[in-house]
Structures are given as structure tokens and as C-alpha cells.
């Protein structure tokens, strides 16, 4: 009886989360799956059409492939740079010097500001032709570049915004670095190992689970990027930054095709899952989990 009471009390404590999960995650999850098999404009009841949305997506919609290509390119550009940068900064901040906590906070701030609309607007003004960056470059007699207007450059400029928010990855790397036993470095010093050797033979292997975690999480975030392209470029110029999330938004809220947008969302869910599994598979033999791993 007492155990039942405890159980119900526990459930009561977590009930806000349960209700939130049911209402705002599970219900939309299931509803979107059902809508993906329907012609649904949001203003009228859905009409079941079977697999027509999926068939159209794979056989006729050229924008689907174009958008997927842009999204994968964006992800492959952003993730290696972001993770490398985060690791470099984490290593620099893994020292006992006065004021290191202030530096850690400063480097983390961009992550807090996050993919907000205001930051995206600031980015736009920084990188426009008359923007601050070009003005700065002009002091070195470098001619202005169209960072956001040139279709060959725009995606990388947007990618830079994501890289700038490396703080959360950095903090996780920092925590991982602190877990590496100092004795390993001491032993390697005695053996005459160089700094590079220490990095490749101790730091990287010991940090491999953390690298995998950051790689998977950041890849998922990058694939779902929306705010920056919506605010800064609207997917242009010439669809050079037309990320998948923006395409779903246009289909669902711009063209009254929420059914098709739901189908796009589900296919994207499968793609993200596949990419995640590939990452796990590739890294499975390269991850060092310690004595128990």
C-alpha cells in the first residue's frame, strides 16, 4: 500500500512532463504520420490519398532532391569545422590559469544566443556587401565580397553562423578532457612522447565517446537547421540555401500542403536515423570506452 502511494506520488511529480510529452511530442508525431497519407490543407479535414505524397516526392519533386543535397552539403561543411574548433578551444581552456572561467563563459555565450532571429538579423548585416566584415577587410585593401548574395558562397556564410555557436560542444569536450587521467600524460612524458603523439595516442582515444556524442548531436541539429536561412536568405539566392526544414515550412504553411509536408518530415526522420546509424556503425570499433567498454 505504501509502495503504491510512493509510485503514484512519483507519477504525480513527473505528470507535467508526461502531459507535455503526450500533447506536444507524441500526439504531433502520430498525427503527422497519419497526415502524411492524406491531402490536408489545414483549413479543411484531411482526405486519405494513400502513398501519393511519397510517390510524388520520389518521382516528380525536383525540389526535394535539390533541398536534400543542399542540406547534406551544409551539414558536411558545418560539422567537421564546428567539432574541430570546439575541441581546439576546449583544449586551450583546459588549463589552470587565472580567469579561465571567464574565458569559458565568453566562449559559451554564442551558444546561449543560439539560432535566434535577432542573431540571424545581425549576421545578415555583418555579411552584407556594405556590412561590417567588408568594411573591416577594406582596411587591408581587400575588395568587398558578396558573402550572402553570391550563390557559391552563401551556404558557407550561413554555415559560419552555426560554427560560431560551438560553445555547447566545447563545454562537453571540456568535461571529457577533465576525465582523462593525468597519469597517462605523465607516463607518456616519461616515455618521451611529443605533444602530437600525446594528442593522437591519449587525448583522442580517451575522448572518442565524447567526440561521437558531439558528432551525432551536432549532425542532427545541423540537418534540422531552419532559423538562419529563414531569416537571412529565405532559401536563396537561387535556392542555394534552401534547406530541408525550410522546404517543409513552405509546403506546409505556404502552399496549404500539410499532408505533403508531413510526408517530407517522415522521410527526413528516416534519413536522419539512417545517418545516425551509419555514424554509429563507422565509429563502433574506433570508440574507447575504458576497461569496462
Amino acid at each position: 500500500m505504501k509502495n503504491n502511494k510512493k509510485k503514484y506520488l512519483g507519477l504525480l511529480y513527473i505528470s507535467p512532463w508526461i502531459i507535455g510529452f503526450l500533447a506536444f511530442q507524441l500526439y504531433p508525431f502520430i498525427a503527422s504520420f497519419i497526415y502524411s497519407f492524406a491531402d490536408y490543407s489545414m483549413l479543411k479535414p484531411p482526405v486519405f490519398i494513400g502513398l501519393k505524397n511519397y510517390i510524388f516526392m520520389f518521382t516528380q519533386d525536383k525540389t526535394f532532391y535539390q533541398s536534400l543535397k543542399v542540406t547534406l552539403l551544409y551539414t558536411m561543411t558545418t560539422i567537421p569545422v564546428k567539432i574541430t574548433f570546439a575541441l581546439m578551444v576546449a583544449m586551450m581552456l583546459n588549463v589552470k590559469i587565472r580567469g579561465v572561467n571567464i574565458f569559458r563563459t565568453i566562449f559559451y555565450i554564442p551558444s546561449i544566443l543560439g539560432g535566434s532571429v535577432s542573431i540571424a538579423i545581425v549576421w545578415r548585416f555583418l555579411f552584407m556587401k556594405e556590412g561590417l566584415l567588408n568594411q573591416f577587410l577594406s582596411y587591408f585593401s581587400i575588395p568587398p565580397t558578396n558573402w550572402l548574395g553570391n550563390p557559391d558562397l552563401t551556404l558557407y556564410t550561413i554555415s559560419l553562423l552555426a560554427v560560431w555557436q560551438f560553445g555547447s560542444s566545447m563545454v562537453i569536450f571540456l568535461a571529457g578532457l577533465k576525465q582523462i587521467p593525468v597519469s597517462l600524460y605523465e607516463a607518456s612524458t616519461i616515455d618521451g612522447a611529443s605533444r602530437l603523439k600525446k594528442f593522437t595516442s591519449i587525448t583522442l582515444p580517451m575522448l572518442s565517446p565524447v567526440i561521437l556524442f558531439n558528432l551525432v548531436m551536432q549532425t542532427i541539429y545541423a540537418l534540422q537547421e531552419f532559423t538562419s536561412v529563414f531569416v537571412i536568405t529565405k532559401g536563396g539566392p537561387v535556392k542555394a540555401t534552401y534547406l530541408y526544414a525550410l522546404m517543409m515550412y513552405d509546403e506546409g504553411f505556404g502552399y496549404f500542403r500539410m499532408g505533403y509536408a508531413s510526408a517530407l518530415a517522415w522521410i527526413f526522420f528516416l534519413i536522419i536515423m539512417a545517418i545516425t546509424l551509419i555514424i554509429f556503425k563507422f565509429f563502433s570499433k574506433r570508440i574507447y570506452y575504458g576497461e569496462g567498454g
Partner: protein
């Protein structure tokens, strides 16, 4: 005691989660009252009523509209109007989402091109013909009401102003190449003038343009070649490959001869944000081709004198390509808290002298004869807008049919113009791609239209 406290906190958190799912605060709203939206319409009484009105526009329009609300509340103290306003960009998607969620404002400003899709998808607006006892339609031209406000025999919105596509010129810069308020342009002398201007100063361009306004310019060109509608009512193209190639060759000529700023530079102002281009404020564009209703926001930024001229029309054109029509209509949501009061307010907003004097020409020229007279008598008529509407009405082509004004067709065309502008394809290749995409899209739209 601890358990009771925990229980109370848990319940409060549940309500906090539930509250998160309610509509977030609108982009900008001005009122100290809380909006009350119910899902069932109520009859009008003298009880306190709060109505929500959404629109888009520039700062001047926002200010004038809010002032009109205050005036109405003075006369009807039990009625409070909350404004929900912002820029045009994203306004359509926001309205669609609100309508889908049953949380749309009581009164909505709607682009005339949106009414087809909004009406066919769900019929969310009151048929104002059924409320003639509340709203005064006598001052409105029946033909304009039919052409701009009706769908399927129902009056879903009342025009809030007349406007026409026009060319606003920077008088000083335009004069350097011999353009003045009486100039008549065609596409050939357009290019010559552009070259002349560039020869004077490499920073000067003849035409301020971006992706969305480029659609207006080059669609007009196509209509001058083929006739009143560029897409037929049966969802087939009224232009062939050769016409489209000609159009894209014109785009290329504009770019190559520097009639327009390179697309790499103007693309940041996509979405009709041309007035945000610093070069416009600096007076480095001779002209801009826009819907007349946008004139105030461009003039507001310009520090130089302006005038309007007729948009370019080619010799022997089959149609002028110039659309003179109400650019926006205002409708009442069927799920309004008080439909009758909302319609009553709308009638006052568009007919009352005080309202008209406050609103001025912020939504174009007044759509009623007496409205125009009020403004003339008060000396409150923007001379450029007035001239734009006069020129437009004199040269106007027919209003566009349903498929011609479809947003997805616009997107395909705008993408194609950008592709040519960025040099990502020759006019021939881009024309072929565009035709394939458009035909595919038109088939989908036709199938969807037939189902309804």
C-alpha cells in the same frame, strides 16, 4: 504539508504547459486589454468587446490604423480594437496558420491574390453580402467589389484602397538621363537609359529591383507579348517557349548592361524590401517599379523629390501588363467573437469621414467616391499615389485570374529570373526548365481545383 505543496506546484506546472500551447503574443500589438477569442460567434450587445485586426505595411500605415482604432473606441467605448501588424514577409503563412488553428483575428487584411486559396481551402470569411444591414456598401463600385472582393458569389472582403503598379522616379537622378514626370518608356529605351546612367557613375543604376519585384516587371513584359492573362483560366500557359526566352533575354540584357544592380547585391532585399537597400536612400537608383500601395514606404526613406511615370510598354503590346486594382481587401473571420460588431467596425473603418481622414492614402487611393472627395477637400492626397492610380486606371489590364496569381507559379518564375540573373543558366535552358516545372505545377493546381 510538503506533499500538498508538491501537489499544488505540479498542478501549476501543468497549467503552465497548457498555457504554452496557446497563441503566443502577436508580432506587435497595442492594447492594454486581453484578447478574447471564442470559437462560437456571439451576437452584438453593449457589453465590452475586444476585436483583433491584423494587417501588414510600413510604419506610417501602422500609426494611421492604430489612430483610427482609438477614434472608434472614443465613439464606441465598449469596443476595443487590438492591432496585430508587421511586415508583408511571412504575413500569409501566419494568417494561414492562425486560420487553421481557429485563432485568426476577427478582422483580417488579405492580399487580393490570397482570397482564392483561402476561400477554396476552408471558406473562413463572412459573406458580407449577407450583412448589408450592418455594412454600408453603397459607396463601393459594384464591379470592383465583384472583381477584387468576391469569390464564388460571396463577398469575402472589401477593398481598402485602389492602387496600380507604377514606376516611382528619383527626379534628380532621372533628370540626368532625360527622364521626367511626362516620360514614356518602352523596354528598348529602358536599356539605353540604363547604360547612360552607368556612364555617368558606376554606382548609379536605372532600376531598383529584387526577386519579387522582378516578377512584376517581367510578368508585365510577358503579358504585353501575349495578352491579358499569362496563365489561362484552364491552368494552361498562355505563353510559349519563345516568349519565355525573350523574357529571360531581357533579364540578361538588364544585367549585362547594368540597368539593374547585380543580383548578388540585390538578393538581400528579396521580399519587396527594396526600400531597405541603402542605395535607394542614397539616391543611387533612378526608379523603382512597384505596386502603388508601397509608395509611402519608399517615399518615406527617400531624401529627394519623387514623381511617377507610366511603366514601360512595348510598341504594339497586346496588353499593358499594368494591374490597377485594390491590392488588399479586408474581411471578417467567421469565428469572430462578435461578427456583427466586427462588420460594423469595418463599415465605419472604410466609410466614415473621420476614419478616412485618419487613414489617408496609407492603403492606396480611397476606394469610394466620397472617400476620395474627403481627402481632396482636406488636401490630403499623396500626389504621386494619385498620379499612379490615374495612370494605372487609364492603362489597366484585366485583373488576374486564379491560376495567374498563384504563389507557387510566382515562385517558379522568380526562381527562373534569379537563375538567369545570376548567370546560372542561359535563357534557353532556364526557359525549358521553367516550362517543365510550370506545366507540372499547373497540372497539380488544376487537379486540386477540380476536386473542390
Amino acid at each position: 504539508m510538503k506533499r500538498v505543496t508538491s501537489l499544488v506546484l505540479s498542478i501549476l506546472m501543468m497549467f503552465a504547459f497548457a498555457a504554452c500551447s496557446q497563441q503566443a503574443a502577436p508580432e506587435s500589438s497595442q492594447s492594454s486589454s486581453v484578447a478574447t477569442v471564442s470559437s462560437t460567434p456571439a451576437s452584438s450587445t453593449s457589453k465590452a468587446i475586444t476585436l483583433r485586426f491584423s494587417w501588414w505595411g510600413g510604419d506610417a500605415r501602422h500609426k494611421a490604423t492604430l489612430a483610427a482604432f482609438d477614434k472608434y473606441t472614443e465613439i464606441n467605448p465598449n469596443v476595443k480594437i487590438i492591432g496585430e501588424y508587421g511586415a508583408y514577409d511571412g504575413a500569409y503563412q501566419k494568417l494561414v496558420t492562425q486560420l487553421a488553428g481557429g485563432a485568426a483575428p476577427d478582422i483580417c487584411q488579405i492580399d487580393t491574390g490570397w482570397r482564392y486559396d483561402l476561400s477554396t481551402q476552408g471558406d473562413p470569411f463572412v459573406d458580407l453580402y449577407t450583412m448589408k444591414d450592418v455594412i454600408d456598401l453603397s459607396g463601393f463600385d459594384a464591379d470592383i467589389l465583384k472583381r477584387a472582393g468576391e469569390y464564388d458569389g460571396k463577398l469575402i472582403g472589401i477593398p481598402s484602397g485602389l492602387t496600380a503598379e507604377t514606376v516611382l522616379i528619383n527626379k534628380e537622378l532621372a533628370a540626368k538621363v532625360g527622364i521626367n514626370g511626362d516620360s514614356v518608356l518602352n523596354w528598348d529605351n529602358f536599356i539605353e537609359l540604363g547604360k547612360k546612367l552607368q556612364a555617368i557613375d558606376k554606382n548609379y543604376y536605372l532600376l531598383n529591383i529584387e526577386r519579387d519585384s522582378a516578377r512584376i516587371v517581367f510578368k508585365a513584359y510577358i503579358k504585353q507579348l501575349v495578352g491579358e492573362q499569362w496563365i489561362n483560366a484552364d491552368y494552361t500557359r498562355n505563353f510559349d517557349r519563345e516568349v519565355l526566352i525573350k523574357c529571360f533575354e531581357l533579364v540578361k540584357q538588364f544585367v549585362d548592361n547594368k540597368v539593374i544592380q547585380p543580383f548578388e547585391e540585390n538578393s538581400l532585399f528579396d521580399g519587396f524590401k527594396l526600400q531597405e537597400n541603402p542605395k535607394w536612400a542614397k539616391g543611387e537608383f533612378a526608379m523603382v517599379y512597384i505596386p502603388g500601395a508601397n509608395l509611402p514606404s519608399f517615399k518615406g526613406v527617400a531624401t529627394y523629390e519623387t514623381d511617377v511615370i507610366r511603366p514601360p510598354i512595348m510598341d504594339g503590346a497586346k496588353s499593358s501588363g499594368i494591374i490597377a486594382q485594390p491590392s488588399t481587401i479586408i474581411g471578417v473571420n467567421k469565428l469572430s467573437v462578435d461578427t456583427k460588431e466586427a462588420v460594423k467596425f469595418l463599415s465605419w473603418f472604410l466609410n466614415d469621414k473621420d476614419s478616412i481622414l485618419i487613414l489617408g492614402t496609407q492603403r492606396g487611393i480611397q476606394p469610394t467616391v466620397k472617400g476620395r472627395q474627403y481627402l481632396l477637400d482636406a488636401g490630403v492626397v499623396d500626389k504621386d499615389l494619385n498620379k499612379a492610380v490615374e495612370i494605372g486606371l487609364k492603362n489597366s489590364c484585366n485583373l488576374e485570374n486564379v491560376p495567374s496569381s498563384n504563389p507557387e507559379i510566382y515562385d517558379i518564375f522568380e526562381d527562373a529570373i534569379q537563375k538567369v540573373g545570376f548567370g546560372k543558366g542561359t535563357p534557353e535552358i532556364v526557359a525549358d526548365e521553367t516550362i517543365a516545372l510550370m506545366d507540372q505545377k499547373l497540372k497539380i493546381l488544376k487537379d486540386a481545383a477540380v476536386k473542390k
